[in-house]
């Protein structure tokens, strides 16, 4: 019996849940009444409204990825310099929320950010004026960063804690103080972790619709919301399919770019996904 037999369930799964739906999407994007058509593509490209939402999605995904990196790198760095046992306990605090359903976590933020929510109660009890948090871009960013931060911290932490201490000692030995050692040795060696962190945050962030739906409302609708609206609410399957394909192409491009960056780094090992 050939070993490849064991791959059969996986292949069946792939065909049923990935290939067939993709074909279905392609079909509804380009075929109308049994004829090939580019009408949906034209609609998707020409409407400034769709393009604005796409732009906003990209900007929000970029900003939240950057914020995750800005917060996540120092956290990962501090964790990696701790004793293994302490680091294990502390990293539980980041992993624990991930065991809770993503939607529940997002709903919880609604309770915090609502007009009569926890945050405003806290503010008024401290004598500050109430603020409006729900349905703002800031709130969407906050919740996105909250949800995806662990996906930034973990790969960076993994790579950092694998860096051999002797590299750091060698840098000190050659005259580098701690800051120079960080920028000349630690940071470059952790690039694979950064790249996979960015990939793991950027892609879900650009495709999300739950966060923007629950926290951003109509004000901060993202591309994912648009697709969902077209397909589910307004029933224009063709247009929705084209929008999905555009998003998919965007994701593939970003994966490709990340992969290139990693190859240029000249370092094939590391905590990357690909």
């Amino acid at each position: 019996m050939k070993r490849s037999v064991f791959a059969t369930p996986y292949i069946v799964w792939m065909i049923m849940f990935i290939v067939i739906p993709m074909l279905f999407i392609l079909y509804s994007a380009f075929i109308k009444d049994g004829q090939f058509t580019l009408e949906y593509v034209r609609q998707a490209m020409e409407s400034p409204k769709y393009m604005n939402v796409l732009l906003r999605s990209i900007v929000i995904a970029l900003i939240s990825t950057a914020l995750c990196l800005l917060i996540g790198y120092p956290v990962a760095y501090i964790l990696s310099n701790m004793k293994k046992s302490t680091a294990a306990i502390l990293s539980m605090f980041f992993i624990l929320p991930m065991w809770m359903n993503f939607l529940l976590r997002t709903y919880a933020w609604q309770v915090v950010l609502a007009d009569n929510g926890v945050l405003n109660m806290l503010l008024t009890s401290l004598g500050f004026p109430k603020g409006e948090f729900m349905y703002t871009q800031g709130a969407v960013l906050l919740v996105t960063v909250y949800n995806f931060l662990p996906f930034m911290i973990l790969p960076i932490y993994t790579v950092l804690s694998k860096i051999d201490r002797s590299h750091i000692e060698a840098a000190h030995d050659l005259g580098a103080n701690s800051i120079k050692t960080f920028f000349k040795v630690v940071l470059p060696l952790s690039v694979p972790g950064i790249i996979s962190g960015i990939t793991m945050v950027f892609i879900p962030a650009i495709t999300t619709f739950a966060i923007s739906r629950l926290i951003g409302g109509k004000n901060v609708a993202l591309y994912g919301d648009l697709i969902e609206e077209k397909i589910v609410s307004s029933g224009s399957l063709g247009l929705g399919s084209v929008l999905s394909i555009i998003l998919l192409v965007l994701v593939i491009i970003s994966i490709f770019v990340m992969h290139r960056m990693e190859v240029e780094q000249g370092n094939e090992e590391g905590g990357t996904l690909w």
């Binding site: 000692e169 060698a170 840098a171 000190h172 050659l174 580098a176 103080n177 040795v185 060696l189 000249g266």
Partner: protein
Amino acid sequence: MESNHLIELVNVTKEYSGEKALDNINLYIRNGEFLTLLGPSGCGKTTMLRIIAGFTMPTNGDVYLDGKRVNEVPPYKRRVNTVFQKYALFTHLNVFDNVAFGLKLKKVGKKEIQRRVESILELVNLKGYERRWIDQLSGGQQQRVAIARALVNDPEVLLLDEPLSALDKKLRKDMQVELKRMQQAVGITFVYVTHDQEEALTMSDTVVVMNEGKIQQIGTPQDIYNEPKNKFVAQFIGESNIIDGVMLQDYLVSFKGSAYQCVDTGFEPNEPVDVVIRPEDVDIVPLGSAPLTGVITDVVFMGVHYAITVNCNEFSLMVHTTDYVPVGEHVSVQILPDAIHVMKKPKTLDESEAIEATQEMKAIEEGMDAEEQ
């Protein structure tokens, strides 16, 4: 403290969770000296280097560099470079950038960096490997990059932790000569770690023999080889016959039932001692020409010489000689007075520690005298 003492360790002890990796080390290293730390695996050689480089803080005691106490000075402020036992090369940089790392930090000009890196790579036989990544090099090549990376900085002191261990015999010999030549030409102080006694004896000005965190003997290679201070040193350096004996009086030692003339003095009358006889210092002579007789029981050809075991009734003696003698032959063995080295027996623990401490101090003084002559 004398001015030519570049490095000085005073009462240095290093404990790892109660275990002493270094036990009350007193040692100075002179400017421009080639000093070798020699000892079996786990005796504390690397620990000693790490304390000099500043990666490890001594539990007790002080470290002086250039007469200044440096216990709290971080490694990057010490003019000391290290060739690490595990190389510790930067995997994100190519060979050139690895070697240039220290120079770039010192803001040396681009042209100058280029020149110095190229000449040092030529020296270690790695010309043309500048653009290679570290993981594309063999173990021996990596080791040579590590040497180049440290040496290119013109350090005051170069610490080398078994820097040639991954090289084949020929390359190792070449690199030994090369390192020695560079050390003499540039006048860098080398602190060299090895467990290869031959390497230690051929390269060093001073050899420090260590065991279990303690210095056993400090001296020139000749001292160490010809006048081992105790049984450990005698066994560790070269091959030895070590026999229980009794010092009858000055210049007269008895072992295995006979008395022999020797060159040693300063023992109590009838003090029990260890007698060391180097296999190459004794000679096999025709039966009857010397008092000690025996039967040849084993002959092994070693390349240059034969290793011959002579059974002399009560004990076996190892003899190295270039003359072949067949097994079973009855012979005499000639042991001349200067072939016999008499050593004090180690006492009970506390006592022997005290003795070793005084021996260390003596050894230090003797080392100094030897150098001054």
